[in-house]
């Protein structure tokens, strides 16, 4: 065992050996605390998938084409779709890497150290990383990036993650038009992000946070060359394995492998994204015609169509991607928590999974904590019980039900289908949800203001990440207007507890609050899937929908 390793690691190992925590928990915790992934995997007695992928002799050369929407990519720190980040990801990289088992590894970092109180994170930057222009990556580069995403003027979604431990809200002293004090946000201290030396950066938190490493893998958290000043394009400088050769919005992206990549040159010579538009049929047609070698994503229905293609291999990964039907507890119809409970009882989750996902999902429990999350606490299941639900409705004074607009969006189609499936089941308890399907841009405009709506949530390795973003009172993405002081308190508490066993106890309380009076009905956790041509090797589907082309190879025909 490493000398520099965190003092808590032996405890973890004991817990693992006694079966108190799972292998995965152990891996996650130990790596989080700075243990190298290789070592952690070795201690846990399983093979590191990263080394596994590299182990085989993958063929060299060739071109790989993946079908994916190619949207604007002006500012990587502002990327708001996984697709956008995929375009950038081949050129720019993260400090950390969370693998498909939700284990976070150092990446551009050599390693990190965490203080016992989880308030001081020391990031050791790899010394062998070179920008494409030949310059070595240094602490100033990293600090520039971290400070940039912490600037509210930039508008990165990382800002929301940093709020609460690096970023604080403050009163500007000015008044707005209505005379209310104007609030703004900033780094809590000049020392919040501190340069230790040329290759070491220290983060000083004002409150404990265990998910810092995961946050550094949040999709817009790219390390960019400060010289590019946040702009991205074919000429952008990056540390990544590829150089972007060409980019046309709505058409595609082309990359050329860097021979001087610090991590060893990619297997591929060139790599491409091909924009296939919003028509899900186009992806299938392109696969059928072998115009692309794979898709960045294919939903269960698309998979069902393509699994018969002889040249296609299906890839699946369990994720914490989900969709929630959320209610504003401050509107008339949902005021009474019994209505929300009734809605949770009205759902036949298996049926929805069978219908919408063709089975590719696992039932969720309305508290937005997935069984695959390390902090998950198992609770009794809520099977469908229409009678009970109806009674709850009647108790809440809605015996005859009510009618309300339910906001959703038309794409991706599984979201709309889920909406329809859920609305159909809610009919049985008298809730008539009139589906209002708004084009994406308009949907995002009313996203937080519509009283009754469906929202898809992306994969996050830790439940507290989502809970903090979405359900803490006044949180940045609190779309449900949920506000519960006890919940907030428990969540903050959980964020500072390292011991999974201990944290699970707090989590159980949180989950119960969510089930009792939470603002959401959550049907399932989605199994994420896609297709690749069988000639594609080294491909492993990442639950965050991330594409790492450097790991892939194509067998020549």
């Amino acid at each position: 065992m490493d000398k520099t390793s965190h003092p808590y690691i032996p405890t973890l190992l004991d817990q693992l050996n006694e079966g108190e925590i799972s292998r995965r928990d152990f891996l996650r915790k130990s790596t989080l605390l700075g243990l190298s992934a290789g070592a952690a995997y070795a201690m846990a007695g399983i093979i590191d998938p990263a080394t596994q992928a590299r182990a085989g002799d993958l063929p060299k050369g060739g071109n790989l084409r993946i079908g994916m929407r190619c949207m604007e990519i002006k500012d990587p720190h502002l990327a708001d779709f996984a697709e956008k980040s995929n375009v950038i990801r081949q050129v720019c990289e993260y400090l950390t890497f969370t693998d498909r088992n939700n284990i976070t590894h150092p990446y551009l970092l050599e390693k990190w150290d965490v203080s016992d109180d989880l308030k001081t994170w020391t990031l050791h930057i790899r010394k062998d990383v070179k920008w494409r222009d030949g310059r070595a990556l240094n602490a100033d580069d990293v600090i520039w990036n971290l400070k940039r995403v912490s600037d509210p003027k930039v508008g990165s979604s990382v800002f929301g993650l940093f709020t609460g431990y690096l970023v604080e809200e403050y009163d500007t002293g000015e008044k707005d038009d209505k005379g209310n004090p104007k609030k703004s946000s900033r780094l809590w201290s000049d020392k919040a992000i501190e340069k230790v030396d040329d290759s070491t950066v220290r983060l000083n938190l004002f409150s404990p946070q265990i998910a810092v490493a995961e946050h550094l893998f949040h999709y817009p958290m790219f390390i960019l060359d400060p010289k590019d000043n946040g702009a991205f394009g074919p000429s952008a400088n990056g540390t990544g394995p590829f150089e972007m050769v060409e980019y046309t919005v709505g058409k595609g992206a082309k990359y050329k492998a860097r021979t001087d990549y610090w991590g060893g040159a990619a297997h591929l010579d060139t790599f491409e994204f091909v924009d296939l538009g919003d028509n899900p049929g186009a992806g299938i047609a392109a696969m059928a015609s072998k115009q692309v070698d794979g898709l960045s994503e294919a939903d269960a229905v698309q998979i069902n169509s393509m699994k018969a293609f002889p040249h296609v291999a299906v890839h699946k990964v369990e994720t914490t991607q989900t969709i929630v039907m959320r209610m504003h507890p401050d509107v008339e119809q949902f005021k009474d928590k019994r209505v929300r409970q009734a809605m949770r009882h009205a759902l036949d989750r298996d049926k929805i999974i069978q219908t919408v996902l063709l089975g590719a999902g696992t039932p969720a429990e309305d508290h937005h904590v997935a069984p695959s999350h390390p902090e998950y606490a198992a609770l009794p299941k809520w099977p469908r019980d229409v009678e009970k639900a109806k009674k709850l409705m009647a108790d809440a004074g809605h015996a005859d039900g009510f009618e309300l607009d339910l906001v959703t969006r038309p794409d991706p189609i599984w979201e709309l289908n889920t909406t329809q499936a859920m609305a159909e089941q809610l009919k049985d308890i008298g809730i008539k949800a009139n589906i209002k399907s708004l084009p994406s841009a308009q949907y995002w405009e009313v996203w937080t203001s519509a009283p009754f709506s469906l929202t898809a949530w992306g994969h996050r390795p830790l439940a507290i990440m989502t809970l903090g973003l979405a359900y803490r009172s006044n949180a940045a993405w609190n779309e449900s207007h949920f506000s519960n002081a006890e919940f907030d308190k428990l969540l903050t508490q959980a964020e500072g507890i390292l011991d999974p066993k201990e944290r699970s106890k707090v989590m159980e309380k949180i989950e119960l609050i969510m089930q009792d009076e939470g603002p959401i009905v959550q049907p399932f956790w989605r199994i994420f899937s896609t297709v690749m041509d069988k000639k594609v090797q080294g491909f492993e589907l990442h639950p965050s929908q991330y594409i790492f082309a450097k790991d892939y190879a194509v067998a020549s025909a």
């Binding site: 071109n63 508008g155 946040g230 028509n279 049929g281 015609s289 115009q291």
Partner: protein, 337 residues
Amino acid sequence: MAIFVAKRLAMMMLTMVAASFLVFAVCEFTPGSVARKSLGPFATQEQVDFLTKKLKADDPLLVRYGRWAGVLLGIIPDPLQDPSTGLNFKDPRGAQYFGNFGYSTLNKLPVNDVIWSRLGNTAILAGLAFLLIVPLSIVFGILSGLKEGGVLDRLLSVICITFTSIPEFASGVFLVTLFVILWPVLPGTSPLDSEGGWSVPSQLVLPVAVLVIYDFGYVARMIRVSMIGVMEKPYIRTAVLKGMSTRQVVIGHALRNAMIAPFTVLLLQINFLISGVVVTELVFAYPGFGRLLLDASLFGDIATIEAATLITVAIAVTTQFVGDLGYMLLDPRIRLR
């Protein structure tokens, strides 16, 4: 003639002003502000408010329209490109030049960077379709109009009417099933590069076919009606009774007359094709103007919508103008009046 051209140009300007204003007004209904769209969904409200003020996006509709027009005409610089916005939007052409369509909030690029290549792609698609529609519809129209109610007329009419009744998405679905899935001889999508193993021409076959199927029947019907009218005209009788054969009569006397009325209709198809390709482009993932327009409309990207509107209206008015000129060439009766 000069007066005629001048009048038409004035009318074109007027139409473009009115059309762009109408679109501007319609876009008012879209929820969401330019500031929010420029900054992205995660920008703080504070930042959005700051930019809104900076862009004077709270000004009355007419003032904003005026400002947009000013940017377009190169009278004032594009406010979105002002460094003080912090948006870092930069048009290599500069912030102030004639024909500045502004910055696309959807693509975060100058509209001029995106729209022209898309238009070019669509022009290829529409152009090819047009090149097929013209002869096909003329042949169908003339043949069926030759003898109204005849067997050939009935047959061709049924084909034409049926084809015009098939929406593009339906024929797209049918064709993909047939030629991509069941009998894979053609590519299912058209990204317009040959690296997927299919040549670019092969990628054009299906989209062009879809457009032709939907459109040619309509034009053929127009030509048919015109042809029927012409064939009933006394001068056709004159020609026949001169001792000319049917072939001579059709080619020598009927064809040009029969094309006079449908000529405008035919040209209008350019207009229809340039923008009516939305569905086709979506089905075949064709990187064209129609899809851009659809995306921009859905996103509420006013700069792009306005640019697309002006371009389509300009094309429409220009084709009308060309139509009128062609009309004059075809019909000496209205020459230079």
